[in-house]
């Protein structure tokens, strides 16, 4: 124990001795920790948000919607199904007018709840409708509606013909996104009380089903489909299906944010490691003295490791907490928009773990080089000013050209290890910033540009004289091909709508949504269906899709793959046109037009109209709800801000270290008569030789590693490229240059503040 205590004392002594340096190092750790903490908060919050909220709200495993039925018939059918643990009937009335506090909407969704059964929502304020039924004057409102309209428990809301009712509670149910992201806000009344009051029996159009074994829900569904004769307009949504819907509504953004946060976390830990190693570089003289005095290698390295670890833990802990608090607001708003709850205390453990991780990384990153340094002869270390004045290895081509900038560059490069570490830090942070900028532009793209979600054509046109060939000749058009799109229903009276989009020739030319199962359509008679359709009809790869067309004919196609298509709730199917046209020759094809990269849709549309091809825009996929996107942008910006600080800090530290090690050189220059400006030029040269390669590496890293990684993690939802635009790259490069200037200026001031003689005293 005395050994450990001695180690601890030594470590604390180290920290106290260079107090200013310790604080500086701690500042760096704090910033990295903040970034990591923010990233972790976002990841944990968004990544597990659905599951957490589904558990809390007791979300049913299957929700079936159908045309109104007498409740007994539904109860009999449901309880005959295998694997059913509980069942709750519900009546939903759509397009109900809601009015409260100056706001109103015609699209309210009124849910009449059977209060004797399980609810499938969680109460976040006030209380629930009582089990006994309560009275008809009490209501619950969904949290999205309460937030947007500023309603509270106790307020009154007018619900359609039921008139004014009192809000007794606020609920969330993660089976759909919140108002206003979802256009129909939900209000709950007691169906039991209503039935009692009006002495009738409520017809049921929703069944909430909980299964005993969630992994066998599909078996339950299969039986449900097989026994639904006589029940019209039937649709099923399972928990996984719900998750799909949420993802579609909130867009791929949620997954991207989580993926981005993970990347940021990796970058933060990398930076921390590089920084801790650099700190050891500063302390080589101390290590040399200790070794000269005979302190064992392990103790030396242990002290360094422990001191770095303490800084990592304490500063890291504070940073992590700060970062988590910083993103808590926007992240919470985002979760509320998805009808999900914030992780709350569930974050404590991961954040604590992260802090410990930061401490460990710092300790190891300091301990390992310290161990290596302690293995070298003390004399080499005591010469000070760095890891021995190694002779510069390469012949730099004359300072004549670049002058003092070049000199500064060479000074920085004289320590290739540290230069490399700084470039790595800049590259990682810069890559993250570029990624974030790419994501931001992606958000707008998702809103407006259909090609972001697997639909490769941006326009459809009626065929002009000259056909597809004439359209292809129009500048800005990359490809055009025939398309036949129609709506049908499934052939077996389940009432499932199917939007069938077919193309003459290769389907992949025009649609490319990410594959969930199976493969893409290759030949005739094959179809790829959206996951929404697959869930609704219980169709899997190898099954047969039978669509009843409006002409009355039936079309049968073999399912070869399931795709995540975001349009129409995924109730889409893509195939070749030949069979469709054979089944219904009355359908008229139009042309799908794929634009060249960078082409302006409006401009090309005008050109097409000019040749007689009337264009129609194809819509994008996600919500265009402005506030949602703003919230997302805020989260991105918060993390980016922290990231920028890290870059600045890395540069400042690199230059400060350079200035300190090359104090004699700088002092000499000043002795020769170099003023502040010259010193600044030297340091700027040192900074630029780090910043510019850092920017380049950041670009490469983002393009080659981060963007594909993020796209891969979010690939289940859309086919995305998150390559940063040239403008973003230029902005980041300019930013790095600016940081180099600021860092050089700051360090130069400190250098010039002391008389040159101090630097000259050293060897």
């Amino acid at each position: 124990m005395t050994g450990a205590a001695a180690l601890l004392r030594g470590a604390l002594r180290l920290l106290r001795s260079g107090r200013r340096r310790t604080l500086l190092a701690a500042a760096g750790v704090l910033v990295a920790g903040a970034m990591a903490g923010a990233a972790l908060t976002v990841s944990v919050g968004l990544g597990s948000g659905f599951d957490r909220s589904a558990e809390r709200a007791d979300l049913p495993d299957v929700v079936a919607r159908f045309a109104d039925q007498p409740p007994e018939r539904i109860r009999a059918r449901i309880t005959a199904l295998p694997n059913v643990a509980a069942y709750a009937p519900r009546t939903e009335i759509a397009n109900v007018r809601l009015r409260a506090g100056g706001e109103s909407t015609r699209r309210g969704s009124l849910q009449l709840v059977d209060t004797t059964a399980r609810r499938g929502y969680a109460i976040v304020a006030g209380r629930d409708l009582p089990r006994t039924g309560g009275n008809t004057r009490e209501a619950l409102v969904e949290q999205g509606l309460a937030r947007t309209w500023g309603l509270e428990v106790g307020d009154t809301i007018e619900v359609g013909r039921a008139g004014p009712v009192r809000i007794v509670g606020v609920s969330i149910a993660p089976d759909n996104v919140a108002f206003p992201l979802a256009t129909a806000p939900r209000v709950y009344l007691s169906g039991t009380a209503l039935a009692r009051e009006f002495g009738g029996e409520l017809r049921v159009n929703q069944a909430l089903v909980w299964t005993h074994d969630r992994s066998r829900t599909d078996v339950t569904l299969q039986q449900a489909r097989a026994t639904t004769y006589g029940v019209g307009n039937l649709r099923f949504v399972t928990r996984t299906g719900t998750r799909l819907i949420i993802d579609q509504a909130a867009g791929v953004v949620v997954a991207l944010l989580v993926a981005f946060s993970l990347v940021a976390l990796i970058a933060a830990t990398t930076m921390l490691a590089a920084q801790a190693a650099t700190e050891v570089g500063r302390r080589l003289a101390v290590i040399g003295v200790q070794r000269a005095l005979g302190v064992p290698r392990g103790a030396v390295a242990g002290e360094q490791a422990l001191s770095a670890g303490i800084v990592g833990l304490v500063a890291g802990g504070i940073g992590v907490t700060l970062g988590a608090l910083l993103v808590r607001g926007p992240s919470g708003d985002l979760l509320a928009a998805l009808n999900e709850t914030p992780p709350g205390s569930a974050l404590l453990l991961p954040l604590a773990g992260l802090t410990v991780l930061l401490g460990l990384i710092a300790a190891v990153a300091a301990g390992w080089p310290a161990w290596r340094a302690a293995g070298r002869p003390p004399v080499a270390l005591l010469r000070g000013g760095g890891l021995a004045a190694r002779a510069p290895r390469r012949r730099a081509g004359g300072p004549g050209r670049a002058g003092f900038l070049g000199l500064g560059a060479r000074l920085a490069l004289a320590r290739p290890g540290r230069a490399g570490a700084t470039v790595v830090v800049l590259a990682a942070s810069g890559g993250v910033i570029l990624l974030m900028l790419g994501l931001a532009s992606l958000l707008t793209a998702l809103r407006d540009d259909p090609t972001a979600v697997g639909t490769r054509y941006a326009l459809t046109v009626t065929a002009p004289a000259g056909g597809a060939a004439a359209v292809r000749r129009v500048p800005g058009v990359a490809d055009a091909g025939t398309r036949v799109e129609t709506r049908g229903v499934d052939s077996f009276a389940l009432g499932e709508p199917v939007k069938l989009t077919t193309f003459g020739g290769d389907v992949g030319r025009f649609v490319n949504p990410p594959l969930a199962d199976g493969r893409r359509v290759q030949g005739t008679g094959e179809v790829e269906i959206g996951t929404g359709l697959s869930t609704a009809l219980g169709l899997g790869v190898g099954g047969t899709l039978a669509v009843q067309l409006q002409s009355g004919a039936e079309l049968r196609l073999r399912v070869v793959g399931t795709v995540r298509a975001l349009q129409d709730d995924g109730r889409v199917a893509f195939a070749r046109s030949d069979r469709l046209l054979a089944a219904d020759p009355s359908l008229t094809p139009d042309l799908a037009v794929r634009l060249e990269r960078g082409a302006d849709r409006a401009v090309v549309a005008a050109r097409l109209a000019a040749i007689g091809a009337t264009p129609t825009n194809v819509a994008g996929a996600t919500t265009s709800n402005r506030s949602f996107l703003d919230t997302l942008a805020t989260v991105l910006r918060a993390v980016a801000l922290l990231d920028g600080l890290v870059c600045l800090y890395a540069l400042v530290q690199a230059l400060a270290l350079t200035a300190r090690e090359r104090r004699p050189t700088l002092a000499l220059l000043r002795a020769q008569g170099a003023g502040t400006g010259t010193v600044l030029r030297v340091l700027l040269g040192a900074g630029l030789v780090l910043a510019l390669p850092g920017a380049l590496a950041a670009f490469a890293l983002q393009r080659l590693v981060f963007a594909p990684l993020v796209a891969q993690l979010a690939a289940g939802y859309a086919d995305l490229g998150t390559a940063a635009s040239p403008a973003a790259v230029a902005a980041v490069t300019a930013g790095f240059v600016l940081f180099a200037v600021v860092a050089a200026g700051w360090v130069a001031r400190r250098v010039v503040a002391e008389p040159p003689v101090h630097g000259l005293r050293e060897g």
């Binding site: 199904l81 295998p82 339950t220």
Partner: protein, 519 residues
């Protein structure tokens, strides 16, 4: 040290040790005893250990008896698992006053299988499309229907393990009165190679209709099940004596319709109705009887209005008449024959008589009134039994059929009728029928076609005082890959025996049925 010079007379010295070395006298014997004791101990220990492991959890090695092992779904998730057996419960409604008497010697053991509904699923003479019209039509399709023959074969294995004196098959052996169905079922009962039917037209992956369970595509996924189901296999056949009664499905198309020329032509024809015309669906009445009428008319006309699919015409799908069915069964040694009906009397030992009554209407003009000749047969059977206890086997429970009334009257007067045994309802149900002559038990057994896919064992025992005791318990099908899959699918079927409560209550399954001595 004896003096070497003096010859010492040989002394008979009794050595301290045995003749082969340092052993005490009788040591060898003792060693042997020890070895034997050790061996015995090991044997006993082995048995005990084996017993413990066996009784520590139910295992399916006890071929099918639900007294030892039952199959239950404890978590409600739809997956069946072995569970402890169900012991016999006493039912003393007909036992008279006082404590139930002690059971005596066994007079006979009889096994009962019923309602196997062996079906040729691709036959044009079938009407599965009606399912989706909703009420009043109930589902005809069963997800386990490709496996009817495998289930039957597995059931025969359990029956063979029981070693009954007689095995009864109380009707609905086939599903659609087709020749190929009957031949396959007879093959399964007699033993030999069985060629099951191909179910791909209804349950293959290219059937887009989600009403049908397609094992390649629908959960629970069983890829390749249809190929395995139609692979020929070797059925062991029933070893002991067998007596079969036809049911309505054996003699009428769909159990309802008498075969008309049009229908006969359809059965061996080249087309199958897949989706009925919209007009038919709209015009069919919703009231039960009228709906059945209109469907019967449709089938009888041999008309197929709507979308059809081609099938390979198979002359072996020939629809058989009642006489033809009984004749075939009799030829196979599985039934008696009396005037075109499978009436028969089978005595088991000296204590039991089984009377088989074929009271199933043949359709058309034959509304099923039991004719005088049959009643005379019944009277003779009831009165010439002597001291035997009588079991009467019928297809449908007598309380439910118009023709049953006359039979019930006869049974009410017969003092030694112990029980009626039947099927048709696909439900297990055991009820006492109180009569002036002492009463009898009405036993209905659930179908092999549906959950719980069980047969029934019946043991007749004498009791002190001249009464009788009928111990009955259910028999699960023997462990077999396809038969187990069939049971799994039957359990999940939301239109099948589970939600319908086919398995009845515990008082309908493994019970001890007491009957007081005749007055």
């Amino acid at each position: 040290m004896a003096d070497a010079s003096r010859p010492t007379p040989p002394r008979t010295v009794r050595p301290a040790h045995g003749p082969v070395g340092r052993r005490a006298p009788g040591g060898r014997a003792r060693r042997r005893a020890v070895l034997v004791a050790v061996a015995l101990l090991a044997l006993v220990a082995g048995i005990l250990v084996g017993r413990t492991t066996a009784s520590s959890g139910p295992d399916r090695a006890d071929a099918g008896s639900t007294l030892a092992v039952t199959l239950r779904d404890p978590t409600g998730s739809g997956a069946l698992q072995p569970a402890p057996g169900e012991p016999l419960r006493d039912r003393t409604e007909l036992a008279g006053t006082g404590a139930p008497p002690r059971p005596g010697r066994t007079l006979g053991v009889i096994a009962q299988l019923t309602d196997t509904h062996v079906r040729d699923t691709a036959s044009p003479a079938r009407i599965p499309f009606l399912d989706r019209l909703g009420t009043p039509f109930t589902a005809v399709f069963r997800p386990q229907e490709p496996l009817t023959l495998q289930t039957l074969a597995a059931a025969t294995r359990t029956v063979n393990a029981l070693r009954p004196d007689l095995t009864l098959v109380t009707g609905d052996l086939t599903d659609n009165s087709q020749e190929n169905e009957l031949d396959a079922a007879i093959g399964a009962l007699r033993g030999g190679t069985v060629r099951p039917f191909d179910a791909r037209s209804l349950q293959g992956a290219d059937n887009a209709d989600p009403f049908f369970y397609r094992p390649d595509v629908d959960p629970p996924r069983r890829p390749g099940l249809l190929d395995r189901a139609r692979a020929p296999f070797r059925a062991p056949g029933l070893r002991g004596p067998v007596a079969v009664l036809p049911g309505n499905h054996d003699v009428l198309v769909g159990g309802e319709v008498r075969a008309t020329p049009g229908l006969r032509a359809t059965a061996v024809g080249a087309e199958r109705l897949v989706t009925p015309d919209g007009s038919f669906a709209r015009s069919v009445p919703r009231e039960q009887a009228a709906a059945q009428e209109s469907v019967n008319r449709l089938l009888a006309a041999g008309d197929l209005p709507g979308t059809t699919a081609p099938v390979r015409p198979d002359p072996r799908r020939r629809l058989l008449s009642g006489e033809q069915v009984v004749a075939r069964l009799a030829r196979a040694g599985l039934a008696g024959e009396r005037a075109g009906r499978a009436d028969a009397v089978r005595d088991v030992g000296t204590g039991v008589r089984v009377v088989l009554l074929d009271d199933v209407p043949r359709g058309g003009s034959d509304t099923g009134a039991v004719d005088a000749a049959q009643l005379a047969f019944l009277d003779r059977a009831l009165t010439t039994g002597g001291d035997r206890w009588i079991l009467v086997a019928v297809h449908a429970p007598l309380q439910r059929t118009p023709q049953g009334r006359a039979i019930r009257d006869r049974l009410a007067r017969a003092p030694r009728v112990l029980a009626t045994v039947g099927g048709d309802t696909h439900h297990d149900r055991v009820r006492p029928v109180r009569t002036a002559a002492g009463g009898y038990w009405s036993i209905t057994t659930s179908a092999l076609a549906d959950w719980p896919q069980q047969g029934r064992a019946l043991r007749v025992r004498a009791t002190a005082g001249g009464g009788a005791l009928l111990e009955t318990h259910k028999l699960d099908t023997a462990p077999d890959g396809l038969a187990d899959t069939a049971r799994e699918l039957a359990y999940l079927d939301a239109q099948g025996g589970r939600p319908d409560g086919n398995a009845g209550t515990p008082d309908d399954r493994n019970v001890r049925l007491y009957r007081a001595p005749p007055r």
